[in-house]
Symmetry: C3
Subunit: 343 residues, 3 copies
């Protein structure tokens, strides 16, 4: 990191703090975990189970809960606050706005904006953006460099499309949505009819809808629906390099980790959590609050609250137990052979 | 969707239809599956096994096979035609050309086209495209915004490159090819020689060739060959986020679902079908018409017509049987222990 | 390939060679493997185990080790040299510079370069590039078309960013680095706090650092760190469509094949080799020189030198043995049933 903060600035950003210790020179330039912090760094104890790291840390300033009883070294300050994690979040938010200042609310001189597009106030359009016909972008949204916003697409308020996003025709993005670099939204679904021995593409006339507060990771792809819509529910967070097929419906507040693949027409209820590289066959229903471990292969509907692992997917505890028994297969075969020979 | 169709227009688009029922007001604005269709929607019975859904559907118009015997509700029309799926396809094709009209056959004012590039008639070049030296693009092909067409690349007739495709130098695309957004064609293969303890890149002088009627899904990557070519056979369809290594040869009419990875020099015969997230080790031969289930790991050659699953890959039926027996491992271990104790 | 070389040129490029045979007409236009080479091609015997292919090859010229004893056909030349692989590499390097000449050291007229950016001598900036504030790019680096170089980013000497790379703000690239097309470096990490039932994004203030001689494959994504850095060690080579999470640290000279996923805060020591589609859970330590087979799922720390396979990951030999025994599970269940019935 690369910032400069005075001690007074720091105290103004944090909630009220009890101060212990002294710093000779004061120049804060980084934030780091307790074990990696050096002079000039601010660190923090977010979880009491790591409290033994505090006395070994070289951080200049450490944010601590009020219950922490130790004392700072020479040339080190402890700041005790009610909730160190929230204090840290306040500091991070301040630094983010200084390290990554939002772009100016203007259309870059190199961008192409169709004359029929409607842009709200405070909208920023980056270099080399293409904004198509009848596009609408609501107030304070930011479109990064090299983005393509296809004809008739809609973007809500305070949304942020990072560089190189391709939002294809007629797709819709809500408010407070983050789309990371390189994402493709609205590509044609993968569907073919067999016609006289060749694969004839099924026309895709639908769209993709991202509800409010959704985040999409870098280079993820979301195909548009055959007729209706592929929909990502409010507050759901999707990581990098994920594949979402046509007509998929993801519920609210789901978490989908990197490289997951979801085939066409799968429906997730709310609060589903999926580990990296898991895969879902088409047309399945995934129950509310279910959890799917990384690399799992789902080929059947999933009950609400289930926790599954493996391919074929099994209840997590059973999958773990079978994994342990599999390691004992050589022993079992040997025992059985011994046993059979004795008879 | 967002279209307006009169009943006369609809009848003109469809093959000859037998009409039953009446609509009070007529305003068609969507197509939807039977169970999700509302007033104003057109729906269809594509497969007789879903015929029980017809009487419950709120669609204004339903396309049905002539053999269907029920009658429409009040304010609903049944249209019986010889092949409802073909009728639907005709309607979709009509709507596609109105919802996604092809771009004008022109070079966008912001594009950069090298003076040595040769463009056929009816070619459209999108905003911010880069068209390199000695490129040739045949009649009626469409190049989306932000595409890079490297020096000496060739593109055939009626092909469609969506926004942000990177077609690198000397690669070749046939006729009627679709390349979705964000695809990279012609990146350097992943090959290194060990030279004095470090990895020294192997030079890649070859190219990628996509034959006619190939489709490539969004953000898929196809590496160029070391010397000769990486080739995708005519009519093969590749989904999103697939990795195709250097010198791979895919036969004709293959289907490769999302997130599959194919290492260098693998050769697919024709009509191979691969489920999502399957992986292939290098230098293998994959027989004609073989089927590989999702998430399978292929490390040996595959016989023509084989159907494999799992890692290590096994014949599908055997893999299924072993999966069932694995669930019974706790029982087997317990039974064996009981048995041994009794002795 | 598409080159023209005279025999004198070829001899000048190669190390000293012993010549046997004669060519009637001389027109070299390709390099190909022994079994696929035709008239006009140069071929080579890189590994003696393929020596039986030499006498069947139609190549016009074959590079051979001095120990090879056969004789050329009519209209074919053998060139015996000390190390045919090195000879081939010299030829390839010559051809690469002619087939893929480096771009002119200039800023393309369509590029946008901020006035505060510092460019070394010999730097080439491609069409439609965006170069942000306070960026520094050292001598002889090449930035392809449609790249985004974010504010305060740094790029060393002789590095090559292919078209469409997104190098986001404050990230750093060393010398002699290759970044293939479509790569995203510096996207926000995937981290959320649960705040009153919704997922609140954790601010990511860190950066990504690629050390010298690193290569990154097409459409790969590397997230920036929460506070400090995500770092890829010198000489490490990462293939296409790989996911590297926030705060990951990859050691030196590692090889990471396509579609691997590495969750946040994982630390690789040096010389780790990972097969395609393997996945790593977060916060693990992966020992020096360990090898991880394709599709393996790593959920625990890995010892130096270990060779693991499967999910759950097991030592390679054990995993292979268990795979073989699993195929015999139907037999084991049957034998056990027979046995139990006999009692």
């Amino acid at each position: 990191m690369d910032f400069n903060l005075t001690f007074d600035q720091l105290l103004a950003i944090l909630p009220p703090a009890e101060l212990e210790g002294e710093l000779k020179s004061f120049s804060l330039s980084g934030i780091a975990a307790l074990e990696r912090a050096n002079k000039g760094d601010i660190s923090f104890l977010g979880n009491l189970k790591y409290k033994s790291l505090v006395s070994k840390s070289f951080a200049s300033i450490i944010l601590l809960p009020k219950s922490y009883t130790g004392s700072p070294k020479a040339n080190q300050i402890f700041l005790r606050i009610d909730d160190p994690s929230r204090g840290l979040a306040a500091l991070c938010s301040y630094l983010e706005s200084s390290l990554y200042p939002p772009p100016k609310s203007e259309i870059h001189s190199t961008a192409w904006v169709d004359s029929t597009a409607k842009l709200g106030t405070g909208v920023a359009i980056g270099a080399f953006c293409f904004i198509g016909k009848e596009v609408s972008i609501a107030d304070n949204s930011v479109i990064g460099t090299h983005c393509h916003i296809g004809d008739h697409a809609k973007i809500g308020r305070n949304s942020n499309l990072h560089p190189g996003v391709k939002l294809l025709s007629r797709c819709e993005i809500g408010n407070d949505v983050v789309v990371n670099a390189g994402v493709v939204i609205g590509s044609e679904g993968y569907g073919f009819d067999q016609v006289e021995g060749s694969h004839k593409k099924v026309t895709h006339l639908g769209k993709v809808v991202l509800e409010d507060d959704v985040e999409i990771g870098a280079n993820t792809c979301i195909d548009r629906a055959r007729f209706e819509e592929t929909r990502i529910g409010a507050g759901s967070k999707i990581d990098n390099l994920v594949q979402i097929g046509h007509n998929v419906r993801i519920g609210k507040s789901c978490l989908i980790v990197a490289q997951v693949g979801i085939a066409g027409s799968v429906e997730f209820d709310d609060n589903v959590v999926v580990g990296g590289q898991a895969g879902f066959a088409g047309h399945l229903k995934i129950g509310k609050g279910s959890k799917i471990a990384g690399q799992t292969g789902i080929t059947k509907n999933v009950e609400p609250g289930a926790f599954l692992k493996g391919n074929p997917a099994l209840p997590f505890q059973l999958a773990q137990r079978i994994s342990i028994l599999q390691k004992r297969l050589p022993e079992l075969f040997n025992r059985f052979d011994d046993f059979a020979n004795k008879e």
